[in-house]
Amino acid sequence: MVRNDIMDKMELKFSPTLKNAQMGTIAAAKIASAFYNLIKNDDPDQNFSTDVELAVGEACTNCVKYSENLDTGDKTVIVTFETDDEKLVIQVKDQNPEFDFHGVSVPDFSEVPEGGYGIFIIREKMDLVTYMHTNGWNCVTMTKFIASPII
């Protein structure tokens, strides 16, 4: 098995507006689609890029939504994309206050809430999701694997 220690990386930086978040989301979908196509060498899997689009969309929207509470400081959202031959790793970083990511529970669907679906959608659509808060930055890392054969 060839070990690929170096992952190819690219970065998007933008100020936290809804328009920028939308552009970032569309870019993520296009990158996911291109990445899938490169690895699989056939028609893009609609599910792969759709799933990435939804997850990144929710993450970026959250960055903007919670940045509106801050009125000081230089606010930036950074979305990085790293790939190797089996997965796409996306990090969404913002400078909002730390929050209890792991404490966010699954929405109570019977109540049909109007919000609170964001993190649930990210967890459902991506294979691995982690959260860290370091040096004033929230960082949500999402990984999606290209499907591989069973065993």
Binding site: R3, N47, L128, F145, I150
Partner: protein
């Protein structure tokens, strides 16, 4: 497809012309309401009831096959509790040569309401409606397209868990009052209990394997085998048997008669599986007898009494995980743990090692060892440690005999935890031939459990953890090994 037989008087010339002119299109509407199949979820909570397999084909796939056999070019699946596994499997239907689409209904919707919600699909076409949760008994060599569309009264079948009927257009549904009609070429069997599932499965295996398109190769009467199947020469297969893909039947086992083994299954040595279904991804341990049961992972289900037994001991039954997601995490952990251990052990190794060298109490030998079951080898510095002396015991307690292997762990050439490293000898090669999951590590699974080398318990432990490998389990095994050595 085998030659299709005519079942009834041939068409007249006028009928042929009419058929050619009208170009009769037919679509199929498959309605899976939760009320008809909710019982399945209590036994198989992780999948949609329509994806439950019978002879390694899902119930929905049998329905799709029949719909296409009947001449349907488009199929819509409507569910009130949709399943992503259904859509991920069937996708757009290109694999079956038909267009498959999906719709939603709500609990309590009538057929009329469902037709309304799917009006764009149902308009201007004749419909084959499959409403319920049942198994369609048919024969793929027969021509159902004529039976359904041109002959009175067409298809009109019913059972306790659903019905299947044909209408010329959606408007005809509301006025559809015909009584069900027996049809010798086709019938539907209810799926109300797991025993129904098992009995239908046995019936198909015994006498109807040729009636359906089953996944696998049926070169021999009574046998359907998937790809990448390994059967030990000492195993006995008693027909009829159906084996899925990636199946391992180990030595001294007896499989069949009337056994369906799903995909990615291991039947370990000495076990017997008869009149049973082993679902995908299951591990069946040593010397077990399974008769009239359905096994899925750690759960053994008795269909007659509708009872489920969850087996705690993973050596008996377990679910095999697909671990491809964690290779980067595993690589990182290997590197970090390797570095930490090497850092901690460096000074004791140098000090104690020097003392022991003077005492001539140990040696380091470069040994070629197997890396996998295919016989790939790599050389490692293996420590031969005299455990009777005091320094020997301290050496082992601090796991210093593993120190020379840590270099390979850090370089990524060896895992920190895995199966016991086996010297590259013909005897070990033969042993590995039957052990495709073998991946060696610096610390061995069996030493974590404290089993003596070459004991039967050691073999079970090694195989079990190889099959059920996860990053978390590896971490726990490493801690256990370190503690076991210290105490």
């Amino acid at each position: 497809m085998s030659q299709q037989k005519m079942l009834w008087p041939p068409l007249t010339v006028d009928q042929c012309r009419l058929r050619a002119r009208e170009k009769i299109d037919m679509k199929a509407l498959i309605l899976l309401k939760e009320k008809n199949c909710r019982w399945v979820r209590s036994f198989f909570p992780s999948r949609h009831p329509g994806m439950i397999t019978l002879c390694n084909n899902s119930i929905l796939e049998f329905m799709v096959d029949f719909a296409i056999l009947s001449g349907c070019t488009e199929i819509r699946m409507v569910m009130d509790e949709p399943g992503m596994d259904v859509e991920q499997f069937f996708k757009s239907g290109s694999r079956w040569g038909a267009r498959i689409s999906y719709g939603n209904s709500m609990d309590g919707d009538t057929l009329g309401h469902i037709l309304e919600k799917n009006h764009a699909f149902c308009k201007d076409t004749s419909l084959l409606i499959l409403d319920g949760f049942f198994f369609i008994n048919y024969d793929k060599s027969l021509d159902y397209s004529q039976l359904i569309s041109l002959n009175e009264p067409g298809i009109n079948l019913t059972c306790s868990t659903g019905s299947m009927f044909y209408v010329e257009d959606e408007a005809a549904v509301s006025s559809f009052t015909q009584d069900p009609v027996d049809c010798p070429e086709c019938s539907i069997s209810p799926l109300a209990t797991l025993d129904d599932l098992l009995q239908i499965s046995i019936r198909i295996m015994e006498s109807e394997q040729n009636h359906y398109v089953l996944p696998g190769y049926g070169s021999e009467e009574g046998m359907v085998i998937g790809s990448n199947v390994e059967i030990n020469p000492t195993a006995r297969i008693i027909k009829p048997v159906i084996l899925g893909n990636n199946v391992r039947i180990l030595g001294e086992t007896v499989v069949g008669p009337n056994a369906t083994i799903g995909n990615n299954v291991i039947i370990d040595s000495g076990s017997q599986v008869e009149q049973s279904i082993i679902m995908d991804g299951s591990y069946v341990g040593h010397h077990l007898t399974i008769k009239q049961k359905i096994v899925e992972g750690q759960r053994v289900i008795d269909p007659r009494y509708q009872k489920t037994l969850t087996v705690e001991d993973g050596f008996l039954f377990s679910k095999m995980e697909t671990n491809q997601s964690f290779s980067i995490v595993r690589t990182m952990i290997n590197l970090l743990v390797g570095l930490c251990l090497a850092g901690v052990q460096l000074i004791p190794y140098i000090l104690l090692g020097s003392i022991r060298k003077i005492q001539k109490d140990w040696s380091v030998k470069t040994t070629a060892c197997f890396m996998d079951s295919q016989g790939t080898t790599r050389t490692f510095d293996m420590v031969h440690n005299n455990l009777t002396t005091c320094t020997g015991k301290i050496f082992a307690a601090l796991s210093l005999d593993k120190f020379p292997l840590l270099g390979s762990v850090i370089k990524g050439k060896l895992r920190i935890v895995g199966n016991r490293l086996l010297e590259a000898t013909p005897k070990n090669r033969k042993q590995l031939h039957d052990f495709p999951e073998y991946i060696p590590g610096a610390f061995f699974y069996s030493e974590s459990d404290g089993f003596a080398p070459d004991s039967p318990e050691e073999e079970i432990s090694e195989r079990f953890y190889a099959v059920n490998r996860t990053v978390l389990k590896d971490a726990i095994m490493l801690l256990k090994a370190l503690i076991a050595r210290l105490t």
